[in-house]
Amino acid sequence: MSDNLEVRGCVLPLSLHYSVGDHTWIRLEDDGTALIGMTDVAQNLAGPLLHAKPKKVGATRKKGKPVATVESSKWVGPVKSPISGEVVAVNEDVKTDPTVINRSPYKQGWIVRMQPSDLAADMDGLLTGQAAVDAYRERIESEDIKACEHVDGFEI
């Protein structure tokens, strides 16, 4: 089985945990921190990004509060944190060139690294693997979310 599944051309790696409602993902790291980013669906809905402003290192955020603001030509929105915790690192690359999120939403385009404060409780609300893909498929179809288009150099 492939490591990724696609729904309407939008790629969803099976290894990540998703907050489907907020279009965000987290990757749990060996050191106990978690990387957070936007899904392929989110970058496609936003369009080519002009600005990405992550919260500063040291900021504490509750689950559901913004860890970053992203802007495209006519759209602006928050990247809502899927977990509570402290921002321990931000991706400087997305600050200088936010289109890296469009090109590589799951790798080079991670937005912040957080030290979780209550991971066990927060993980309850997140989905992974086939369950996440099924939930995302349902959302994409019920809201008739447009198919993903990928820029040159797009990588999984």
Partner: protein, 234 residues
């Protein structure tokens, strides 16, 4: 698209709810100065630019309010008021009505009550509202992107890619910004944020776009705290 005035699409909404919203519009202090009665002469329609492009009529707005037709009011509240360009050409009314003013009140009620139609109508303006609220300047040069303005032609791509240089070609110092229309003084920004706080504008934003509210709250509270104000938008 033709405006469906049959009311069928809102038959499921309780009459009491429609009436509550109607009374909220009528209860506004400005209402009595915006509606004196309607001759049904149509001069407002003749003057209205939106009426030329959409199935929209300022006369319908004035007539509906004057006749207190609650069902039709609710239809117009959802499906018509966002077609108005708020130019107030309709103030030409010989009876001194202001259909545009009535629409201002209706839009405010639609937003305050978080109507789905208001959310949908304003969805495309998220960044414009963000810019006004956060920076005090409505549009920013960097909105000019090829994907957003395909009708401007292929040269938009070149302008967008070299925007910084294009902006520097403009002589006035204040016009070189790309993220805002001009450089905004910190004192102005603080005053703006305090106005938004005192007037309850943020409560309206919260009703129509929670995500936008969240990021504005972050930006404003941080800036106000740095300036020595203990202000919360919660």
């Amino acid at each position: 698209m033709a405006l469906d005035l049959s009311g069928r699409q809102y038959a499921h909404v309780d009459y009491d709810e429609k009436e509550r919203l109607f009374e909220e519009v009528k209860g506004d202090l400005r209402y009595d100065e915006y509606l004196y009665g309607c001759y049904e002469c149509g001069i407002c329609v003749a003057a209205c630019p939106s009426a030329r492009f959409y199935d929209f009529s300022p006369r319908k707005i004035a007539q509906t309010m004057a006749r207190e037709d609650v069902d039709l009011f609710y239809t117009l509240l959802n499906d018509s008021v966002w077609d108005c360009s708020q130019c107030f050409s309709c103030d030409v009314c010989p009876r001194k009505n202001s259909p545009g003013g009535l629409i201002t009140l209706m839009r405010e009620v639609a937003v305050k009550n978080g109507l789905a139609s208001a959310q949908e109508a304003l969805e495309g303006y998220g960044r414009v509202v963000y810019k006004i609220m956060a920076t005090g300047t409505q549009v920013s040069p960097d909105m000019l992107q090829a994907n957003a303005f395909p009708d401007w032609g292929p040269h938009v791509k070149d302008i967008a890619e070299n925007l910084e240089y294009w902006r520097k070609a403009l002589p006035p110092e204040s016009m070189n910004t790309t993220e805002t229309s001009w450089q905004v003084d910190d004192k102005t920004i603080i005053e703006l944020y305090l106005i938004w706080h005192m007037t309850g504008v943020m409560d309206m934003i919260k009703e129509v776009d929670e995500g936008l509210f969240m990021i504005l709250q972050d930006v404003m509270e941080e800036k106000l705290e740095d300036a020595g104000y203990d202000v919360s938008f919660d």
